[in-house]
Amino acid sequence: MTPSDLDLPGLDATGLDATGLTRLDAYPTGRCGTVVRIDAEFDLTARMKALGITPGRRLRVIRRAPFRGPIQVRCGQTDLILRRADASHIQVCPYIPPQE
């Protein structure tokens, strides 16, 4: 698998400060980000890892459900839904695609 395997059509770097961390629930829809840290309890972290969310991996928020419902996240070949409360344990930094 190549490092850019997560590139998706319509992807761009966010305008955020590259060193700043954002909680996944607040991360802009459609932007690609890299997971930096997961601060959840042990078994939730394990579940997230099993579903593909681990530090270093890239993901993208696809959409948000109405009335502050869950968010849909694409990580690798897997689409996930997670509640915003659960997503808030995931720290993300903007992904900047390597210069070509």
Partner: protein, 594 residues
Amino acid sequence: MSKKRLALVGMPNTGKSTLFNRLTGAGAHVGNWPGITVELLSARLLLGDSMVELVDLPGLHNLHGFSEDEKVARHFIETQPVNGLLVVLNANQLDRQLGLVLQLKDIGLPLFLALNMADEAAARGIKVDAARLSEELDMPVHMISAKHGQGIAQLRTELTAWLRQHPAPIAVRSAALEHDDQLEIRLEDLVHNTVHVPRELPETLTDRIDRHLLHPWLGIPLFFLLVLTVFQLVYGIGKPMQDGLAWGLGALKSAWLAPALASLPAWASSFLLDGLYDGIGTVLTFLPIIVVFFLAMAVVEDSGYLTRAAFLVDSLMARMGLDGRAFVLQLMGFGCNVPAMLGTRVMRSRPQRILTMITIPFSLCSARLQVFLFFTSAVFTPAAAPWALFSLYVLSFLIAFLTAFIWRGPAQHAREPMVMEMPPYRLPTLAFLVRQSWRDATHFLRQAGGFIVLGVALVWFLTHFPLDAVPAGPDTLAGIAAHWVEPLFSPLGIESLLSVALLFGFVAKEVVIGSLAVIYGAGPTELSGVLAQRLDWVQAYSFMLFTLIYTPCLSALATLRREGGVGPMLLSMAWSLALAWTASFAFYQIASRW
């Protein structure tokens, strides 16, 4: 010939059940295992010269799993000796799913890897180097499509050879799990070396559909539209079939059965014709509609749309102490409440699980649907009947929500995380649908063959004994029983004979229509006429309200007891009876004075 045992392991939704059915055919049975609290599906499978018992384990995300399902799977692996594990992975998602294999490798059981959904992977241009993967993992690896049958014959051959190398069942080596970080590095290497994913993934059909179905404003209205369409479809197809069957059974009775039995004593022919034949016949006319209904449910369930429904409504459900999954189970309960209750096993928090289980019995199941179809089409005009039925579905949800809201107690604070996969849209195969409808039809007939016959016979006895009394009159046993419960039911506008049917409905709602046929001495075709004569719409609706709300059936209660304990079962019983009475009372008292 030696007996061997193999367990199917994998994450949820990887196609374990599909593979299980593909390998074993129809002969599966549910069994109890020592030390394991839930029943597991297993079946015998002939591989070469050995008989292998294949056990389908619940989905497992990782070995630290926290849901009931995961605990069961892990406990099985830890305690039951097996010759090996047949691990099923989704070939599209090896980037994360291979982690489970690395964990499993550490416990020392022989592993055989089946990479499923080869068809989807090919369509997406994902390539897996199975030979290299097999080498790196030191275990057989095989690409298959359980749904379409690709690679299954070869899988059998290789499984046979592999089992020869592992002739004796072994128990796990309980080594401490390798540190996760190390495992992740290995996972990354492994994926890098063996999986190739195209750089640009094209927008899939699923993405395009979801743009509409998960639209922030249109999503929920579209959901309701979809539910309505499914129901329209079910009635459009099922109702004419039901009417035809009722007509056929009636014709058979008058043209052939009645003359043939004319020589029997009056009570005997009454028992056979007005008791068994009418009672069972009336229930049987629902077979087509039930099968069509379950087929539609199977398509919806298999399509992956239910996860999307959970996504859409989760935040609304959260206000009632429930979550999106509870809503989905509520929908599944439209078929039958019992499997929906078992579905709560994916939840980890016990208060939340119990709360969900208490709300599921209010879901309008197919057995209650029979009663409502009958009553609405008998008492309401053809234009009003669908709306009466629809209102009952809406009420079913409202009552479930009210119940959750009132009893949410500890579940409210035990909010458990909801993190789950959203699979792409899939269509079931025709073979799957045929098998499904066969299973549902036989299940329905077995029920009809069991306590429906018994119930109908008992109702006949109660309404015809003593033999010299007017059938179903005040002097019969049923009449006496009805007289006793009259003070309870007359304020609800439920006439005494109808209350006898409710008594039997406690066992199973399928019995209600059958026993009404017996009570009123009417066959499938005549019963609606009799009901229309005896009941106005207010009384009929009050009866339906009571039927909707009170305890669904003994099986549901038994399930609640087994899964939740005696306390929740008693609570559910008392609450639903009290609520049913209050709701019918309020409705009847208000509506009849209007």
